[in-house]
Amino acid sequence: MFGFILRRLAVAIPTLLLLIVFSFMLMHAAPGGPFTQEREVPAQVLANLQEKYGLDDPLWKQIVDYVWGIVRHFDFGPSFVYPDRTVNEIIAAGFPVTLTYGLLSFILAVVVGVSLGAAAAIRQNTWLDYLAVGISIGAQVLPNFVMAPILVLIFTLSLGWLPGGGWNFNDPLYWIMPVIALGTSYMASIARITRSSMLEVLSSNHIRTARAKGLPEGRVIRKHALKPALLPVISYLGPAFVSMITGSVVIDMYFSTGGIGKSFVDSALNRDYAVMMGVTILVGALTILFSLIVDILYAWIDPKIRY
């Protein structure tokens, strides 16, 4: 396992480098640049801007300088659109926000989703099953861009319990709606996957054997059913976790959280190359990291899996 982890980490470096090179080239291939505006910037002013930000260098040199800046100083460069902020500062301001509501959404989705799915499978075709399935279908058909305004209408406008948006680390009232809006559809998916996986495991031979040996039902479920039933859930959780903690543009837009999701989209639209690269690398690194964690979890849950 240790060798496997080392091998995966060794592969991660060229993967990230490829990601940087491809992203850089794709960005620069898109029409328009960071200083393309409705009102054309005069040629001399544009030349001054390009010189300041190194955009007048050949593309290969820009890529090399960029990677070298990261390797030497962990410096992702200056933002072109927010002239008094660096990419490091933008990520440092936005990522903790996204991480906070993403982690809480993740916990909500896993705890409620797994409980709901497992309960539905154990009590298949009872009112509990129908209720759990009903809740997860309901949550599934309410994507976050529908859920967000509904929550604002209910909790802000009608009840006046929660602020309609903004972000404050010191006040959990600001966290509630983003967490619910982001976590709900993931929760529904986890519940559905858990239920179907659990049903499959519960009808398998080793569970029949365990029951035939006279083990109590609770022990059968806890010891023999739940662990293998969670394998497909874990496969789903890897990418889901990354997409939750790297932000949702919908959540950031509706609740004005200042999270990194909106920065990602804005940087692409604004051709803010440095910010876009910074967020791309962050998402890429997290994706690689969490797919590795999923693989480790797989091996822990099912010792038959060998790498």
Partner: protein
């Protein structure tokens, strides 16, 4: 001395009072003097010389003060300058600065701080996207400094002493003073910029000379400013706190306005009539200094068919602007048949023939012109309109498509992302393109200069008579004569299809007083506002 006497400068004492705000009779002040206003997006910078956004300018006008401010009607009133003189040749402006003006750290605001700010804007090392603004002001050596040919200290702005600023221009510029409320011309404190580098604009580092100081800035969340006790007129500033709240969705902003979290916001398109009926005291529509148009590509890369002035005239005639304004936008915008926004100060709307016709007559004439050119619904002229992604642009484009179709024009709508649209316009890679222009200052030349042969002019309209008229206007006693003549050339040549003049449609809580409702630039100053008990 002789030269000084020859120029015989004459004093222009600014007539309007400098005092910030007077509470109206019967108004009882609220205990909490906080104004919470809406921002669609994050404020990109609080550096006056690096800002490019309207919203950024709104923030900068609160925390910094230039030589001039604007009043509620858009007229120029004293800021840091109490008065100024202009030499007979119109090339030298001398400003007297108020000695009581101070920075938020208690240091006096001096003429050298303005000189530094202006040099900084032009300096290639700053890489300001608005360096062109100093060039537009025609300050001596501005262009040479931007080009890197002359050092910034050669700019034609000199501190004669701490309270006297002299500015030399390359040519008479009648609108020069109107540009002085623009943030690019605001002073900055050299010692602070040099001490903190790019981080000098962070709350805590930022030292400013406006009525408010920056106290926090959470990117994309909110920005707060609190009353500056060092401001020279602080005794007359009632507002204690200004908070800009970012809400990226206009409909959510409306919810938050209704929940009492915002005191002012822009009304989403199409909702003004309903909100005006529901909240007559809160929904307002005020003219805003921008014009919306379809640009025609007149360059060599443009369509041959569009080089025919009759075709361009037919397109302009066939577009029923009343439908767009009354049924699509519904926010108090005005149909336009000319380029300069109707409410620009001093601009007298010329009599444009098309504007005086009924739409029936316009449509009939458009049909006749197209038939003459050989185009009918059976043999239509195929054209493409580029527009950037926006529901409003799309709706207007669909209306144009439907209106032109029976006349014999098949319009293909080509929607694209903003940067792509802009890039194509700037490379003359279009037939018709949606475009809008907003004034840099409150005078007609800000619009008309666009269509100069050397102007931004993406359609590459080129007319020597037009250029000559605008050159003449610079030294004219009544430049409006040249402006209206220039508009007539645009109306005859039609390098554009004017569609409407903007209005800002806002919801403002009735307890917010002192909002500038007659300023076509929509510039506002928190120092002039207060909150009544509610």
């Amino acid at each position: 001395m002789k030269k000084l006497l020859m120029t015989s400068a004459f004093a222009l004492i600014l007539s309007a009072p400098a005092i910030a705000v007077t509470v109206a009779d019967g108004d009882e002040l609220a205990e909490n003097q906080e104004y919470r206003f809406w921002l669609l997006d994050a404020i990109k910078t609080t550096d006056p010389q690096k800002n490019t956004d309207v919203e950024g300018s709104d923030i900068l006008r609160q925390i910094f003060e230039g030589l001039m401010n604007e009043d509620g009607t858009g007229a120029m009133v004293p800021g840091v300058a109490t008065d100024y003189t202009v030499s007979d040749d119109g090339l030298t402006y001398t400003f007297n600065l108020r000695p009581e003006a101070k920075w938020s750290n208690g240091a006096p605001v001096t003429a050298a701080d303005f000189v530094y700010g202006w040099q900084r804007a032009a300096d290639p090392a700053t890489a300001s996207q608005y360096a062109w603004f100093i060039e537009l002001m025609n300050v001596v050596n501005a262009s040479e400094i931007v080009a890197g040919d002359v050092p910034p200290d050669q700019l034609g702005a000199t501190a004669i002493d701490d309270n006297t600023l002299e500015v030399k221009l390359t040519k008479p510029t009648p609108y020069f003073v109107k540009m002085l409320s623009h943030p690019t011309t605001f002073p900055v404190l050299k010692s602070v910029v040099e001490e903190h580098g790019d981080n000098w604009t962070e709350p805590g580092n930022l030292v400013s000379n406006g009525a408010f100081v920056l106290t926090s800035h959470n990117l994309g969340v909110d920005i707060t400013m609190e009353k500056n006790p060092e401001y020279w007129d602080a005794d007359n500033v009632i507002m204690e706190k200004l908070t800009g709240i970012t809400v990226n969705d206009q409909n959510i902003a409306l919810t938050r306005y209704e929940a009492g979290e915002l005191d002012r916001m822009d009304i989403p398109a199409g909702q003004y009539p309903r909100l005006k009926e529901e909240r007559p005291d809160e929904a307002i529509s005020i003219p805003y200094s921008c014009s919306y148009t379809y640009l025609i590509n007149m360059s060599d890369k443009g369509r041959e068919e569009l080089k025919d002035p009759n075709i361009r005239r037919a397109l302009a005639l066939g577009l029923n602007r009343d439908i767009i304004v009354d049924q699509v936008l519904q926010g108090g915008q005005r149909p336009s048949y000319n380029w300069t926004q109707w409410a620009i100060e001093g601009f007298e709307m010329p009599e444009i023939e098309m504007a005086g016709m009924t739409q029936e007559d316009r449509t009939a004439e458009a049909k006749r012109l197209l038939e003459e050119a050989g185009y009918t619904p059976d043999n239509p002229l195929e054209l493409t309109l580029n527009y950037n992604t926006s529901e409003d642009h799309k709706k207007i484009a669909v209306v144009a498509q439907q209106l032109w179709k029976p006349l014999g024009v098949n319009l293909t709508l080509n929607n694209m992302e903003w940067k792509v649209h802009t890039d194509r316009m700037q490379n003359q890679d279009f037939e018709l393109a949606r475009y809008a222009w907003c004034a840099d200052y409150n005078e007609a030349s800000t619009f008309l200069d666009y269509f100069r042969s050397t102007g931004s002019n993406y359609g590459e309209f080129n007319n020597a008579e037009y250029d000559a008229l605008l050159d003449e206007a610079v030294t004219s006693d009544n430049p409006n004569e040249q402006y209206t003549a220039a508009e007539q050339i645009l109306a005859a040549e039609l390098p554009l299809i004017p569609i409407y003049h903007y209005a800002n449609v806002d919801l403002i809580k009735p307890y917010v007083k002192g909002v500038a409702l007659e300023n076509v630039m929509n510039s506002w100053y928190g120092k002039d506002m207060y909150i009544t008990a509610h």
